[in-house]
């Protein structure tokens, strides 16, 4: 929020602060600001006990979240009922597939990793005031980059070296793909939200082409996918059948970015840019470089996500690889208000819901895409009602 948004209702005494402020042009707030609300909120509550209860911040926040979670689940159940499914059965199967057993928890972490990295891809540019809706494409290009590196090495290096090269390949490809909207934004003022969105579809076509033609596995017969990565090109399994070392990549990236964004000079510059690009420019910050760098760091994160997916979970390139994960990552970033530490939690939550989708499919016979409804409801709850500062802050 910029300072422009800050002033209150039009009747605020803007020429009456003791120190006489308010002569600068502060536009009145747009739209529906009810001039009476401010005073209504200041009215003391009729019941002292209720006021005390109301002012207990922890209680209020807890009540708010219980209501929000309840409403979210209730609305989801209503949709399930409308479809003729049994909500309790569906929810139970979702719970069991995503969190009900150690195996399913592992699966949740596997799914959460690309979401986490795609979320960081949205979060870093968002700190600088840019909308990166291209996580989807950057994930895919990262997977391609990992394959390019693996193909180039062709088994000629140790597993560790190969994986590092694949990670670099993924990050570079993801960053390069994210650089396109960034450069278009900076040099031609093309809206980066729209251009990054369109690039997702082009990335999807590139993957399809690779799977159907360029890199088609000769022994795949009718199926379209690439060769399977060999043992040295895969993350080692650390637990169970599927949980691989790659799940730490996202967490580590999140922690590192948290430190950088919060404490470093670069993070501060990005915050200034995101808060007010015009002020950043007039303070001598290299706005062009910062914008491109922010998008590319984001793209690199998503690229890593694509690499982890192929080198860890999938082992090959498929056309439908990671479909929707870029968008889920974008949602996770907004869920966490672009804070990398919170993004880790948000990614696990959305990862669990995504895994629940396969439970939905297998046990309840419903379309797996239906979990998108639940994710959307969670996001609405947080975007619309999650901010407690409205009633408490000012």
């Amino acid at each position: 929020m910029t300072a422009v948004d800050a002033p209150g209702a039009p009747d605020a005494p803007d020429d009456l602060e003791p120190d006489a402020g308010g002569q600068l042009p502060t536009p009145p707030p747009i739209g529906p600001v009810d001039p009476t609300t401010a005073t209504l909120l200041d009215e003391p509550g009729s019941l002292a006990a209720f006021a005390a209860f109301r002012h207990n911040r922890i209680v209020r926040v807890a009540v708010r979240w219980v209501v929000l979670v309840g409403a979210t689940i209730a609305i989801f159940c209503a949709f399930l009922l409308a479809k003729g499914a049994q909500p309790d059965e569906v929810l139970r199967s979702m719970w069991e597939t995503s969190l009900g057993s150690p195996d399913s928890v592992g699966e949740t972490f596997i799914r959460a990793t690309p979401i986490l990295l795609a979320a960081l891809a949205a979060a870093v540019p968002a700190r600088g005031g840019l909308f990166n809706l291209g996580g989807e494409g950057q994930l895919l290009l990262g997977a391609v980059g990992a394959f390019v590196a693996a193909n180039a090495l062709d088994g000629g290096a140790s597993s560790a070296v190969t994986l590092v090269c694949m990670a670099i390949g993924g990050a570079v490809f993801g960053a390069a793909w994210a650089a396109i909207p960034a450069v278009l934004k900076v040099y031609t003022r093309t809206n980066e939200a729209i251009s990054s969105l369109l690039l997702n579809y082009i990335a999807g076509i590139i993957i399809t082409w690779l799977c159907f033609e360029r890199w088609k596995d000769p022994i795949s017969l009718g199926q379209a996918y690439s060769r399977e990565l060999t043992g040295g090109e895969r993350f080692p399994i650390i637990w169970g059948n599927r949980v691989h070392l790659g799940i730490f990549v996202g967490v580590i990236a999140g922690l590192v970015l948290w430190v950088i964004l919060r404490w470093s000079t670069w993070g501060f510059k990005l915050k200034v840019l995101g808060g007010n690009p015009s002020a950043a420019r007039r303070a001598g910050l290299a706005v062009t470089g910062l914008s491109i760098a922010a998008m590319m760091v984001g793209g690199a994160m998503a690229g890593l996500g694509g690499m982890v997916e192929v080198a860890g979970t999938e082992g090959r390139l498929r056309p439908e690889l990671l479909a929707g994960y870029g968008f889920i990552g974008f949602l996770a970033s907004w869920l966490a208000r672009h804070d990398p530490l919170r993004i880790i939690g948000a990614a696990v939550l959305l990862g669990a819901i995504a895994v629940g989708g396969s439970g939905l499919k297998i046990t309840a016979g419903l379309s797996g895409g239906a979990v998108n409804i639940l994710m959307a409801l969670v996001l609405f709850a947080v975007l619309g009602w999650g901010r407690t500062s409205e009633s408490e802050g000012s």
């Binding site: 729209i194 690039l199 082009i202 590139i206 082409w209 159907f212 907004w334 379309s367 609405f380 975007l383």
Partner: protein, 299 residues
């Protein structure tokens, strides 16, 4: 071949024209609605389902409009009442739309629908070249021919249009004269969502005659891009929509003629075209957009 490409451009462009007009209405009122993609999907499914169950494609079209508007009302609540970020909410609304259509469309995949028949316009459709390109289409396509100038007329020649533009250019001024900008934006979103739903309905009941998950493949997002590159002008928007669908038609024609170009390269042509044109025109669009819209992108 030119005839075939142009015919394909007009037929395929209809859904994008409708969605684009809807988005244009919203953006002129100062709200960007990335939920257009979701509204199209909902419109496509609702029209398809109602068309199958009632046997009347026209009832289906009405249902499509209603479904699109209903989804847009979610955007309205979040953006106009909860003041959440428009870009983020729009994407979530689209997510909701994909989820809902995935859940409720599951049983309808591959079922045939009673199609919205083409009406060859007597006389005109016999014209050489133009007859096939313009006058042998489904009724919704003719409706889109009318809708484009109608929206332009409405924007600049009616009080409603004046108020709509003011909601996007100077909402605080509108409020002074006792018109609620929020109310205007609500109406714009409902109309916009309805138009997107109509576009989706055309897609499923007149164009593909089928339902499949995510069948709009980004047409709603393309519509958003087109509104910007059209400089928020309905006629230019229609041009952009036909450019996009023309690129698809051209790609199909080239493939059918066995051109030695990868079909994947060709498939990306429409998206690349829009992106390139957008980039080329953006520099001139610095101050083209409604003033309230620019604030959205300032975070």
């Amino acid at each position: 071949m030119i005839e075939a490409v142009l015919t394909g451009a007009v037929a395929g462009g209809t859904s994008i024209v409708f969605a684009g007009l809807g988005e244009l209405t919203c953006e002129r009122a100062g709200v960007i609605n990335l939920g257009t993609e979701g509204s199209m999907l909902c419109g496509a499914l609702a029209a398809y389902v109602v068309g199958i169950n009632t046997g009347s494609p026209w009832l289906g079209v009405l249902a499509g409009i209603a479904a699109g508007a209903l989804l847009a009302s979610v955007h309205a609540v979040m953006v106009l009442h909860r003041h959440a970020n428009q870009i983020a909410v729009g994407l979530v609304v689209t997510f909701l739309g994909t989820g809902l259509t995935s859940l409720f469309g599951q049983d309808y995949v591959g079922k045939g629908v009673q199609p919205l028949e083409s009406w060859a316009i007597p006389g005109l459709s016999k014209l050489p070249f133009l007859g096939t390109v313009l006058f042998d289409h489904d009724p919704l396509t003719y409706l889109s021919f009318v809708a484009v100038p109608l929206v332009a007329w409405g924007l600049w020649r009616t009080r409603a249009g004046l108020i709509l533009r003011s909601a996007g250019e100077g909402p605080e001024v509108l409020e002074i004269y006792g018109t609620s900008a929020r109310k205007v934006r609500w109406i714009a979103l409902l109309v916009g969502g309805g138009l997107a739903g109509l576009g989706g309905a055309q897609l499923s009941t007149a164009a593909t005659l089928n339902w499949s998950e995510g069948m709009t493949v980004g047409r709603g997002f393309v519509a958003v891009a087109l509104v910007i590159f059209a400089g928020w002008h309905p006629l230019k928007l229609a041009g952009g929509a036909y450019l996009f669908s023309g690129a698809i038609a051209l790609q199909l024609q080239l493939q059918a003629r066995g051109w030695e170009i990868s079909r994947y390269l060709l498939e990306s042509l429409p998206y690349v075209t829009v992106l390139v044109v957008l980039a080329l025109l953006s520099n001139r669009r610095i101050h083209g957009g409604p003033a309230a819209l620019e604030k959205v992108f300032e975070g």
